[in-house]
C-alpha cells in the first residue's frame, strides 16, 4: 500500500482540523476509551435534543494517531441528528466506508475507537445494546 493511499487528503484534513472537537459541560451522555495497544484516547460527549433521543450535539477530545482522530471527527459529523438507538445499531462498516482507506486489523482498532466509545456513552445513558460484534469495545473501562 502506498502511503498516500492511507493518508489521503480528507484524513489529514480531519486530523488537522477536527470537527466537533471540544467538551460539552454537563453532557447527557459521555464516555472515555483507550486503545490498550497504542494508548490512543478518546472522550466523547453527547447532548440530546428535546425528544431526549436524537443526538443534537456531539463533541470529542482525544489524542492519538491520524486514523483514530480523523475517524472520530468524521463520526461526529455522521451521527449528529440521528437517534441513539440508530447509532447503537450502526454497523462499523458505515464508518469504515466513510474513512475509506484499507486498514490492517491493528489500524482497524484505531479507526473504530471513537465509535466504540460513543456506543458505550449511549449504552450508559440509554441502555442501548453493545453488540458482540464490537469485539473488545464492550469492555472499555470507563474512568
Amino acid at each position: 500500500m502506498a502511503f498516500d493511499e492511507m493518508y489521503r487528503e480528507v484524513i489529514l484534513d480531519h486530523y488537522k482540523n477536527p470537527r466537533g472537537h471540544g467538551v460539552i459541560e454537563g453532557a447527557d451522555a459521555e464516555a472515555d476509551g483507550q486503545n490498550p495497544l497504542c494508548g490512543d484516547e478518546v472522550s466523547i460527549y453527547v447532548q440530546f435534543g428535546a425528544d431526549n433521543e436524537t443526538i443534537e450535539d456531539v463533541k470529542f477530545r482525544g489524542r492519538g494517531c491520524a486514523i483514530s482522530q480523523a475517524a472520530t471527527s468524521m463520526l461526529t459529523e455522521m451521527v449528529t441528528g440521528r437517534k441513539a438507538t440508530a447509532i447503537a445499531e450502526m454497523p462499523r462498516d458505515e464508518l469504515l466506508e466513510e474513512v475509506g482507506i484499507p486498514l490492517s486489523p491493528v489500524r482497524l482498532k484505531c479507526a473504530l475507537l471513537g465509535l466504540g466509545v460513543l456506543k458505550v456513552a449511549l449504552h450508559r445513558a440509554k441502555g442501548t445494546p453493545l453488540p458482540e460484534e464490537w469485539a473488545g469495545m464492550d469492555e472499555l473501562k470507563l474512568t
Partner: protein, 415 residues
C-alpha cells in the same frame, strides 16, 4: 464395533506423512505406542511452522508493518481453528497456555483463589492426572476448602457414582475437576452427567480433555462443562502450547492469572486494568508459532476426520485387547471397549513395568511404564506402576503384534 458413516482411514498411508517413521534407525522400524504421552507430528504441521518463521515471523498485536500484520492475522486464524474444533461460541473463549497443566492451574488460581473457602469442597476424581488433581489440592489448602476425590469401583476401575450423594454431604461442592478420558487406563468418564450433577450442587465443572481432544469430536456447547483444557503436543501439534476454553461470563468475572505484557489495558502505579478476552489471560508474548502449528494440526485432524480417527482407534484397541488377552499372566486394567479410549494399561506377572518397557524398547516398541502421573489411581490399583500402550491414527495392527511378541520375550527373560 459401532457402525458409523465415517470413512475408514488408511493408517499406513497417513503414516507416510510423519517424518519420524521414515528413519532407517537400524534394522527395526519404530512401533510407537506412546501417543497418549505425546503424539508424533505430520510434515504439514512442521512445514507450517517452518514456513511461518521463514516468511511471516513477527510479534503479534503490536506492529503496524506488514510482517506484524501477517503474523497477527495467522495467529488469530489459528485461534479461530481451535474455536471451531471444539465448537466454542466465541474466539474470546479460547485461551492459549503453555500446556494443559498451565490451563488447569490457571482455573485453579484465577477462579479458585477467589471462590473457594472453608466449608467449600474442591472435588476431583481418583482417575485424574496429577495436573487436574494437585492444583485443586493446593488451592484448597491455600483457601481452607476441603479437598476430596470421587473414588473408583474395583471391577472396571470406573468412577463410583454411587458415592456422589455421600460426598455432597461433606460441604458445599464448588468445583468438580474431571477428565474426559483417563490417561493411564483409558476410562471414559460420563462427563455430561457429572457436569449436570456439579451444576445442581452449585459447582463449576472443569474438564481435562487432553486424552479426548486428539481422538474424538468435542463440542463444548453440548458437553455441559464450564472449562475444558487440552494440550497441543498430544494432538499432532507442537510442544509449548495448550488450550483453555472457558465460558465467557466466567472468564470475564475472573481475576487474571499471570500478568504483564499484552494482557493489560492500562497500568499506573495506583491501578492496573486488564485487556479484553482472551488477552486478559495471555500474559507476555504468546506461543505464536506454536499456535500456527496447532492450527495446522487441527486442519490435518479435520481432513482425516475425528470420527474416522475414533473408529480406527476402536478397531486397533479391540484387536489389541484380544491379542493381549491371549498372554498368560497378563492383567488388563480398566473398562470394556465401549467405555475405553485407545489406551491399554496392563500388568505382566513377575516382570516390573519398567523392565517390560525396557525389553520392548530394546525391540523398537515404544510404550510407557510408570504411574502416568496418576499416583492416586495406582495406589487404588495396588500397583506402583503399569505398562501402557496407546494408539493413534497412525497405529498399525502389526505394531500390536510386535508388542505381543515383545511381551512373550519379556516373560522368557524373567522366567
Amino acid at each position: 464395533m459401532a457402525v458409523t458413516s465415517a470413512r475408514q482411514l488408511d493408517a499406513a498411508a497417513l503414516r507416510a506423512q510423519f517424518p519420524i517413521f521414515e528413519q532407517a534407525g537400524g534394522a527395526r522400524r519404530l512401533a510407537y505406542l506412546d501417543s497418549s504421552n505425546s503424539s508424533q507430528k505430520p510434515r504439514a504441521v512442521l512445514d507450517a511452522m517452518q514456513t511461518f518463521y521463514e516468511t511471516s515471523y513477527a510479534n503479534v498485536h503490536r506492529g503496524v508493518y506488514e510482517l506484524a500484520d501477517r503474523a497477527a492475522a495467522a495467529f488469530e486464524d489459528s485461534r479461530e481453528k481451535v474455536r471451531a474444533f471444539v465448537n466454542a461460541g466465541s474466539q474470546r473463549e479460547i485461551i492459549y497456555t503453555r500446556n494443559a497443566t498451565e490451563a488447569l492451574n490457571l482455573v485453579a488460581y484465577a477462579w479458585g483463589l477467589e471462590n473457594l473457602g472453608p466449608g467449600d469442597v474442591a472435588l476431583v476424581t481418583e482417575l485424574e492426572h496429577h495436573s487436574n488433581f494437585v492444583p485443586w489440592q493446593l488451592i484448597a489448602e491455600r483457601t481452607g476448602a476441603t479437598f476430596a476425590a470421587i473414588p473408583i469401583e474395583g471391577g472396571n476401575h470406573e468412577l463410583d457414582l454411587s458415592k456422589l450423594d455421600e460426598i455432597a454431604k461433606r460441604g458445599q461442592i464448588k468445583v468438580l475437576a474431571v477428565g474426559l478420558v483417563n490417561n493411564s487406563l483409558g476410562v471414559v468418564n460420563p462427563v455430561s452427567e457429572l457436569a449436570a450433577w456439579a451444576h445442581e450442587q452449585g459447582a463449576i465443572c472443569v474438564v481435562d480433555a487432553c486424552q479426548a481432544a486428539p481422538h474424538r469430536p468435542i463440542d463444548v456447547q453440548t458437553l455441559g462443562a464450564d472449562f475444558v483444557a487440552f494440550t497441543g503436543h498430544k494432538m499432532l501439534g507442537p510442544t509449548g502450547i495448550g488450550v483453555l476454553w472457558g465460558r465467557q461470563e466466567l472468564l470475564q468475572s475472573m481475576q487474571p492469572f499471570n500478568v504483564g505484557g499484552g494482557q493489560i489495558r492500562h497500568v499506573s502505579l495506583e491501578k492496573t486494568t486488564w485487556n479484553d478476552l482472551p488477552h486478559k489471560f495471555e500474559a507476555g508474548t504468546p506461543p505464536i508459532v506454536e499456535a500456527i502449528g496447532l492450527g495446522a494440526a487441527i486442519d490435518y485432524l479435520n481432513e482425516v476426520g475425528l470420527e474416522s480417527i475414533e473408529d480406527h482407534e476402536v478397531e486397533i484397541t479391540e484387536y489389541a485387547l484380544g491379542r493381549l488377552g491371549e498372554i498368560f499372566g497378563l492383567t488388563i486394567f480398566g473398562p470394556p471397549l465401549e467405555r475405553r479410549g485407545g489406551i491399554i494399561s496392563f500388568d505382566l506377572d513377575g516382570v516390573h513395568p519398567h523392565d517390560v518397557a525396557q525389553i520392548l524398547g530394546n525391540e523398537g516398541v515404544a510404550v510407557r511404564a510408570g504411574h502416568h502421573c496418576t499416583q492416586p489411581l495406582m495406589k487404588r490399583l495396588g500397583v506402583a506402576a503399569t505398562t501402557r500402550a496407546s494408539f493413534y491414527l497412525y497405529t498399525l495392527p502389526e505394531e500390536i503384534d510386535r508388542l505381543v511378541d515383545g511381551l512373550h520375550r519379556a516373560k522368557k527373560v524373567f522366567a
